[in-house]
């Protein structure tokens, strides 16, 4: 029992340490952030739900600072509520997207004749890591301030994009004629 508690505390300490490390690493100067926002232009117009700026916007420190600057406990509480709700939905959607990529990959790999075992193991590790990260963030979102998991969220987005790329590189999609016609 004591060992379980110790492990839990250790996991929590590790998570907070990585969070602080990532926060320091990923923080951008205000001007730089504004420039990135402008140069992205209208990419979303053609994007089908996979929007790179959403995590950044939901966990925005600038919005949090703005609300705190209003010095109103009611506004601060409303902001917390709104952003927690948005963050939880965003994380659910992201986890769903990752599971879909994994399922798609598994379906394709069943019909592949030259599987790279090392690449498959790397992909599996990345998948497990991302799903665990997603669950950790859901927990952090519930108990901490709305912008606390910002660094983790940006890291998560980067890794989720990498999962998509690695999956594509490890196993190109099968031609339609090679896919099974019906499934039992």
């Amino acid at each position: 029992m004591n060992l379980v508690i110790l492990l839990f505390v250790l996991a929590a300490v590790l998570m907070w340490a990585s969070l602080h490390f990532l926060r320091a690493k990923d923080r951008l100067p205000v001007g730089e952030k504004a420039e990135v926002g402008l140069s992205n232009g209208q990419a979303e117009l053609t994007a089908g739900g996979d929007l790179p700026f959403l995590g950044d916007a939901i966990f925005s420190e600038a919005d949090w600072d703005f609300i705190r600057g209003e010095h109103s406990p009611v506004l601060t509480e409303l902001f917390r509520e709104e952003r927690r709700g948005l963050a939880a939905r965003w994380l659910d959607k992201s986890a769903e997207r990752i599971r879909a990529i994994r399922e798609d990959h598994l379906r394709n790999s069943r019909y592949s004749q030259d599987l790279d075992v090392l690449a498959e193991l790397k992909l599996l590790a990345l998948f497990v890591y991302l799903i665990t990260l997603c669950r950790c963030m859901l927990l952090v979102v519930r108990v901490a301030e709305p912008t606390t998991p910002r660094a983790l969220a940006l890291h998560f987005e980067k890794m989720a994009n990498r999962l998509g790329r690695q999956q594509g590189a490890a196993l190109p999609p099968l031609p339609v004629e090679e896919l099974p016609r019906s499934r039992p």
Binding site: G41, E44, A47, G49, L51, D63, E70, R83, L86
Partner: protein, 154 residues
């Protein structure tokens, strides 16, 4: 807006002309992105979701105008969604100033009925729409709080 992106979205040359005309004659003269989004949403039928603009349709045809209005609506939606909360509060202030209604009345109606919900374009990401609606709700509360403070100040 970036001309290349716009041209890619509006493959039809008539739609491109209608889009330019829409900006020159109408949207360019409306102050603020929120105002523009509300205007564009008002050109859309509540039941069918189809856009209509009699003046433009007479010159460019229904399909071209529909594409132009839809594109402009989505562009402005994305601009607002990418805005910070502070920028959105400024947009709301511009909207309130340019409205003929009294600010108190408008704030009360917007906070109660949330009419801005029907101003979201149809074909956009649901999560992005939720973010904008949530930010608008917060922005209205910020303005309400500022007004209450002004009213109680001696």
């Amino acid at each position: 807006m970036n001309r290349v992106n716009k041209t890619a979205r509006l493959a039809n040359p008539d739609a491109l002309k209608a889009y330019d005309d829409l900006w020159q004659r109408t949207l360019g003269k409306i102050p603020g992105e929120l105002n523009r989004m509300i205007y564009l949403a008002s050109t859309r039928d509540y039941n069918s979701g189809r856009y209509h603009h009699a003046g433009l349709e007479a010159s460019f045809g229904y399909d071209a105008v529909k594409q132009a209005l839809e594109t402009a609506h989505q562009e402005i939606f994305w601009k607002l969604t990418r805005s910070s909360l502070e920028q959105l509060v400024a947009e709301l202030e511009v909207y309130i100033r340019s409205s003929a209604e009294s600010p108190e009345e408008l704030l009360r109606t917007w906070r109660t009925l949330q009419p801005y919900r029907v101003a979201i374009p149809l074909e956009v990401d649901a999560m992005a729409a939720q973010l904008l609606l949530s930010n608008l709700k917060l922005g209205l509360e910020v303005l309400q709080k500022r007004r209450s403070q002004q009213a109680t100040r001696p």
